[in-house]
């Protein structure tokens, strides 16, 4: 790559400083571009892999209305994946290449999806806690310095809030239901609470790349700030729902005007990040199988498009 002119460099810095948007045609530092590619790709992969844990209950949803809601959500997630891959493509990578990196493990997705969904209540709890945590992480990204990513996030966040409300509504219904349904909810909360807290990443002291991302206005809040915000938002919701969050250290701190809470089991998280989570292999295997089983279909579409002079062979 050509060395950037001092002028381009200072124009980029001014855009950042003035809270304006960097656009695809603009010059940007290589490290900024690489950071964005990594983050957007990881985010796109998370949408796609994230279809699996809930997708696990699509065929078994216990009412046709819930089935329709869940199916619409799966469809939204595939759509989010598409927007995000498109945003990544504005940075000069392509989707096929990112998919390869996902299935051979060179790029990550959110570790939360490496936990199993074991009852239909998990669907509600994922909506409430996992989508809730995702929203805390993602709302600030709507003001991210990179234009295409910020715009994708605006649309995604709107839909995510809708999913979160649907999740919470499902849980309210279950808590008003039978003992077995309430038990399912509490069990799901017990399993998902700590992994949700870990979605904000390691404690600030152990998060080496955060500072630069903050300077570039890709990231706007530290991991611990966002985690605290999530806990403060969620505790009253849990009370309203009537479930117990599985943390004996959880206590209102008058002085801070915030909830104190315990320390997640970071060693378990590290296992999951290193690929040893309960579902890491399963998730990637499924994605790989879909990709490989579909290769002949994509080839046929390309061959057809080449013969008939149409664009790249996806459904029109």
């Amino acid at each position: 790559m050509v060395e950037a002119s001092a002028e381009a460099q200072s124009r980029f810095e001014a855009v950042i400083a003035n809270e304006q948007r960097v656009e695809p045609r603009d010059w940007m530092p290589e490290a900024y571009r690489a950071t964005l590619v990594r983050q957007i790709a990881q985010h796109a992969h998370s949408e796609i892999i994230g279809m699996q844990p809930e997708g696990n209950w699509l065929t078994r949803a216990p009412s046709l209305r819930r089935k329709a809601i869940l199916l619409a959500k799966a469809q939204d997630e595939a759509g989010h994946g598409l927007y995000l891959y498109a945003a990544a493509e504005t940075l000069g990578v392509d989707r096929a290449e990112l998919t390869e990196k996902l299935i051979d493990g060179r790029q990550k997705y959110s570790s939360i999806f490496n936990y199993p969904t074991l009852t239909f209540a998990d669907v509600g709890v994922i909506g409430w806690l996992v989508d809730g945590a995702a929203i805390c992480n993602q709302v600030p990204l709507c003001r991210c310095s990179y234009g295409p990513y910020a715009r994708a996030m605006v649309r995604i966040c709107k839909e995510e809030s809708f999913h979160q409300r649907q999740g919470y509504e499902l849980l309210m219904t279950l808590m008003a239901g039978t003992d077995a349904q309430r038990r399912m909810v509490q069990d799901a909360v017990d399993r998902w609470w700590w992994p949700s807290l870990m979605m904000f990443g390691p404690p600030d002291g152990a998060s080496p790349n955060s500072e630069r991302s903050m300077a570039w206005r890709i990231k706007r809040h530290s991991n611990d700030e966002l985690r605290q915000r999530f806990v403060d938002m969620t505790v009253p919701q849990a009370e309203h729902l009537g479930v117990t969050l599985p943390d004996p250290a959880l206590a209102w701190n008058e002085e801070r005007g915030s909830w104190d809470f315990g320390e997640p089991d970071w060693s378990e998280l590290m296992q999951v990040i290193k690929g040893q989570g309960p579902c890491n292999a399963q998730r990637v295997d499924r994605r790989r199988a879909a990709h490989e089983d579909g290769a002949w279909v994509r080839e046929a579409a390309s061959a057809y498009a080449a013969k008939h002079g149409r664009g790249k062979g996806s459904a029109e």
Partner: protein, 248 residues
């Protein structure tokens, strides 16, 4: 109204069961665009199923709602044609089944859009548009796979050959249909003409396979299904049945 209820159940079960088969594709499709499209088709069919089952429950005097009908009937009480319940197979079979079903169902809905029953007419009127999109989607993939690579043509042809023998059941009248004056054998000619045109354009051969036999004269519309339906319903119903009387 008993006949009309039975008829709504037939059409509703077709939609519900095919929707379940499409849903099984989610997270397994060849491309993200297809994840979105197949979910979309599944949602359309699920919506039709919900309205038709609801109507059946109103008309049959039992007052059962859509969920009671979907989750608490046994497979011999399901009235769908066997085509929609067969296991998924590969993407070519997905496309082939959609092509056969959507072509026939669009044609049927077109005729039902002015049916005397306002609910059935409304489902059909909206359904014509939905099914036209499903047919177009299936046609566009039939073209791509048929006229794509040699390998894809072979797979698409094999899929059509495998599913063709189940098509005839969609044209074979049940006594209820005859009494209601909605004889599906009227669909045979326009549907076969439409399919022949698409297959020709897709450089595929029109299969010659004879229809699949019935069992002592009974098949899907009489509740005599294939071995594929039981496991499909077991999966569909398992959570609901583990919690009788619960609300979700």
């Amino acid at each position: 109204p008993a006949d009309l209820a039975a008829y709504c159940l037939m059409l509703g079960d077709d939609a519900l069961v095919l929707s379940q088969r499409l849903i099984q594709w989610i997270t397994r499709a060849p491309e993200l665009e297809e994840e979105v499209a197949l979910a979309n088709l599944g949602l359309d069919l699920l919506g039709q199923a919900r309205r038709l089952l609801t109507r059946a429950g109103q008309l049959d005097g039992t007052g059962r709602n859509e969920d009671e009908l979907a989750y608490w009937r046994e497979d011999f009480e399901y009235r769908n044609v066997r085509l929609v319940e067969l296991e998924n197979g590969d993407f070519a079979q997905c496309v082939a089944r959609l092509l056969l079903f959507a072509t026939a169902r669009e044609e049927l809905y077109r005729r039902l859009a002015d049916h005397a029953d306002p609910v059935l007419a409304a489902v059909a009127a909206l359904g014509v548009k939905e099914l036209a999109y499903h047919r177009e989607y299936a046609q566009s993939w039939t073209l791509r796979l048929g006229d794509g690579t040699a390998h894809s043509r072979e797979r698409m042809q094999a899929a059509l050959d495998a599913l063709w023998p189940w098509l005839d059941e969609l044209f074979t009248p049940h006594e209820v249909e005859l009494r209601l004056g909605v004889d599906p054998s009227d669909l045979r000619e326009p549907v076969l003409a439409s399919l022949a045109k698409v297959l020709d354009e897709a450089t595929l051969s029109l299969p010659e396979a004879a229809p699949r036999a019935y069992v002592n004269g009974r098949a899907g519309r009489h509740g005599v299904h294939t071995e594929a339906l039981g496991p499909l319903l077991a999966e569909l119903q398992v959570v609901a049945r583990a919690h009788p009387g619960a609300t979700w």
